[in-house]
């Protein structure tokens, strides 16, 4: 390793440990006065250096951050006496759908899950800043469109949305397209319901009326 790279790595280390959030390449370039190429090389070297240690250098949300290594989760958790609450499958599936399909309405999520999505699930994901309202869909009822926020990337250790595990491989492209088409068709039927679906308390009404997402397939 040449001394210059060495010096640069050390500078980057100092900057990254001192920062209160992940530092982007652009920001590291400004602060270190080095070229992007050199910084990339130094970061790669640091990443390798921290392999197998208790600290890892991780690329998250488009920036770099030091974190404790997952292998020591059990010991580190003892610092706080209680364990973080588990996420329910409902929350995780809803989050996954929002992450992969954004921007997406609640009715579309319900369509894909074949299940109502309660306000507390949406609220819980918003509270954690994992999802946010991106806008409204210009269809009757103007339902909210949901997408993931930066905190989602940070908390799940993703460098960007393209870092999400690939799921399309689970299906042939053809199947995927046909599934997508089905969804598109069904979405239109569903959209009229968005308004009521946005608010808690209406779940009952929708249920009683037999307007669950699924049976719109056959209208």
């Amino acid at each position: 390793m040449n001394p210059d790279t060495n010096k640069l790595s050390a500078t980057l280390e100092a900057l990254i440990i001192a920062s209160d959030e992940p530092l982007s390449l652009a920001r590291l370039r400004d602060l270190s006065d080095a070229s992007s190429a050199d910084i990339r090389a130094a970061l790669a070297e640091l990443e390798a250096h921290y392999q197998g240690r208790g600290i890892t250098l991780q690329e998250v949300a488009g920036g770099w951050q030091f974190r404790s290594a997952p292998e020591y989760a059990a010991q580190v958790q003892q610092l706080w006496q209680t364990r973080p609450p588990r996420l329910s499958r409902s929350m995780l599936e809803t989050l996954a759908i929002i992450a992969y399909r954004q921007p997406v309405t609640r009715a579309e999520i319900e369509m894909l899950r074949g299940l109502k999505v309660s306000s507390s699930i949406i609220g819980g994901l918003q509270e954690r800043s994992w999802i946010k309202v991106l806008g409204r869909k210009e269809v009757p009822g103007r339902p909210h469109l949901y997408g993931t926020g930066r905190q989602f990337l940070i908390d799940f250790g993703l460098s960007s949305l393209s870092d999400l595990p690939e799921i399309a491989q689970l299906m042939d492209q053809e199947e995927l397209e046909s599934a997508d088409q089905e969804d598109q068709l069904l979405l239109h039927a569903d959209e009229a319901q968005d308004e009521t679906d946005e608010y808690p308390g209406d779940a009952d009404a929708a249920g009683e009326a037999g307007l669950g997402p699924v049976n719109t397939n056959f209208d």
């Binding site: 973080p84 409902s90 074949g114």
Partner: protein
Amino acid sequence: MLPQTDSTEPLQGVMPDESVAQSGLPPVSLDAFEGPLDMLLHLIREQKMEIFDIPIATLTEQYLEILEAQQPLNLEYAGDYLVMASTLTQIKSRMLLPRPQLDADGEEIDPRAELVAQLLAYEQYRAAAAELEEKPRLGRDVFARCYFPESDEVERPLPEPDLDALLSAFRRVLKRVGGEVRHQVFMETMSVRERMSFVLERLKGGSLLLEELFDTPGRETIVTTFLAILELWRNQAISVVQESCYSSISILPKEAAV
């Protein structure tokens, strides 16, 4: 092509394949499933049915059997399951039509196609959710510091005061506790004492999450309960432990304290 479908399914009380295949299904709790699609996928994958040629009659029968075993069936919660039941029945009857429907190109329409597409799409997201759950999560598996010290040599500028930020921070707290943080709410009242006994009573069963004590709706009850907890804590009748950023607080009966 469709890997790892069932690996993530912790299903209680589900029988081995053979007995599922032949009617007489054991009682399966709907709690084990994330809705009708999840349940259908389970039945299909567990019995190694061909997803593109689902034996719809068998599947419908099994599905209905499970539903019927749920007694009493809470209509409000079972809505999605019942809708699927009618969908399955419709598909089944359409399969029996002597002349199949044709699409624009004159091809036969498989009445199952839409359901299969839905199942496959859902299966993808289910797998994606499981993968997300596996990822090392900040605050659960991996940790970054909340406080970031630099060398003593660094003169770190003090953070700028920002009244707007301060007020929105307070709004967040208010929203969390339900709109009232003023003194009058915290006045000692009879009901705080009642709430204190309520909390102690609940704690006899062991430690609880703070949220669990707030399971009675209503701002006043929550604030009063909260006050009661503060009071008990102050009197050292309970222990309160919390973990890192943004996570739950546990209330422990005193003797269980660490």
